[in-house]
């Protein structure tokens, strides 16, 4: 996969949840099981996400949503099953028809297609905003410094933080830090953006600013999004599909209108009435 994937903010898709990309399976979970000790977090999970789709994972805490994002980012490894991203195995390598655990180097290549925004931002506190964003494009994609800085400036404009370019993360509010983190992830031009409860650590008055930026990105780019959130209105706004998790399984999935207004499963109804 080329590092220069055409997911530039600014390329348009229509807003009816029908992205102007080929719609092929970009992410595929095949019988993935993940246990922590004796606790089965994901149980033979199968699902796939088409390119350009925005998928929201909802469900009670401990139901395995975040684990899915962490598996995709190779922060945890599956105990069983395989994950494919853009046709390539993520945690396995195909060596002469045999699947073997992937080398760090191989995983890193596949992972370049994936960006992640964390609940706790995880900006590098020793770098100014600009370098937080340019570090990976320069040292991973091999961009020239001025090219990377140009890209960073455009992204900072997108997230509305142009004037904070020379500040350290500790000088910014949580909401501003999270928007820098979004710019940092986008600077790699990933095909997939993973959003892990990105507003959960924010003061209530800062949530809207971050969600607005994400709505903007969802509506103006063809980036594929996997989103774990408790912000149901946001989920309804941006999602093409909603997956309802319980105890490591997808118990219900469908368009947001369907899931939020007319859920079929009793557990989904209970969950939604508790959070809405």
């Amino acid at each position: 996969m080329s590092a220069e994937t055409p997911n530039t903010p600014g390329t348009t898709t229509n807003e009816a949840g029908n992205p102007a990309v080929d719609g092929s399976e970009l992410i595929k979970f095949d019988n993935v099981t993940k246990r922590f000790g004796s606790n089965v977090v994901l149980d033979n999970l199968c699902f796939d996400v088409a390119s350009g789709k925005h998928v929201t994972l909802i469900g009670p805490s401990g139901s395995g949503k975040t684990t899915i994002l962490r598996l995709l980012m190779t922060l945890v490894k599956p105990d069983e099953g395989t994950i494919k991203v853009a046709g390539d195995y993520l945690t396995h390598e195909d060596r002469g028809g045999k699947l073997v655990p992937a080398s760090e180097r191989y995983s890193r290549e596949v992972r370049k297609n994936i960006g992640m925004v964390f609940q706790q931002f995880n900006l590098f506190p020793n770098m100014k905003v600009l370098r937080n964003i340019t570090e990976a494009p320069v040292h991973v994609l091999g961009l020239q410094k001025d090219e990377a800085e140009q890209r960073a400036r455009e992204l900072l404009e997108l997230v509305g933080l142009t004037e904070h370019i020379d500040k350290y993360p500790s000088q910014l509010s949580g909401g501003q830090q999270q928007r820098v983190a979004i710019a940092r992830a986008l600077a790699m031009r990933p095909q997939v953006l993973l959003l892990d409860e990105v507003t959960s650590a924010l003061d209530p008055e800062l949530v809207a600013g971050v969600l607005d930026v994400l709505r903007d990105i969802a509506h103006t780019t063809d980036i594929t999004m996997l989103c774990v959130t408790h912000e149901m209105n946001f989920a309804r706004d941006i999602s093409d599909d909603v997956l309802m998790f319980d105890a490591g399984r997808v118990i219900e999935s469908g368009a947001p209108e369907k899931i939020f207004s007319d859920p079929e499963h009793e557990r989904t109804r209970e969950f939604l009435s508790a959070v809405l």
Partner: protein, 216 residues
């Protein structure tokens, strides 16, 4: 006992020679301790057992044997294998090696103190190992351990007279030689005692200032 200012005056040329040697031992010894300690700390986090295990064994051994014995070993035993250094070089290497096993622990604590999220962000950005360590983890780790490293510099200053025992003429060595010739131990020993305070106390003030600046 009388205090003889003229003896102080007579001691001064030797005193300045001694200051120079003490500071040399301190600065070079610290540099060795800082650099080597980092090597130990990184080696102990290696995924390879053949690296981790010997390094742990060697550093534990050095940390748990007396500096004086190590200095004697380096100066009197190594020449048996035709490895010979001057007294000062041996002293510097001995101090640096000994203290590197302490700074290694300091670095280790600093590295362990970097939040897990920083590693995860590095993974999410696919940063290569050299950048993960060089640009993200170590700058944060070292920043928070500068005060602890500074304390070991001061401890090393106070251990530096040990190298006099192998004949490196730092402050104590000069004072003893002077008193052996003049039979006046009071003045030179007192002078170097004061000199140690004059070096150590501002140094610890500097460390405290650094600590306020760096650790937030």
């Amino acid at each position: 006992m009388t205090w003889d200012w003229s003896a102080v005056g007579d001691f001064m040329p030797r005193f300045w020679d001694g200051v120079l040697v003490t500071l040399q031992a301190l600065v070079l010894g610290s540099l060795i301790a800082f650099a080597l300690g980092l090597v130990w700390a990184l080696a102990q986090r290696s995924t390879l057992r053949v690296v981790r295990w010997p390094v742990t064994a060697v550093t534990e051994f050095i940390r748990n044997t007396p500096l004086l014995v190590q200095l004697f070993f380096l100066y009197f035993v190594l020449p048996e294998w035709n490895i010979t250094f001057s007294a000062l070089t041996t002293g510097i290497v001995g101090l640096g090696l000994h203290y590197s096993t302490y700074t290694a622990e300091v670095y280790r604590a600093g590295i362990d103190g970097v939040p897990e999220g920083q590693w995860e962000a590095c993974t999410a950005l696919s940063l290569p190992r050299t950048r993960v360590w060089g640009a993200v983890i170590l700058p944060q780790a070292i920043r928070r351990v500068v005060p602890a490293l500074g304390n070991y510099v001061i401890a090393m200053l106070k251990d530096s007279p040990m190298i006099a025992t192998i004949g490196a003429l730092e402050l104590l060595g000069q004072a003893r030689q002077f008193s052996a010739v003049t039979f006046q131990p009071t003045e030179p020993i007192t002078v170097i005692g004061v000199a140690f305070i004059l070096i150590a106390y501002p140094a610890s003030l500097l460390m405290r200032a650094l600590e306020r600046r760096l650790v937030r």
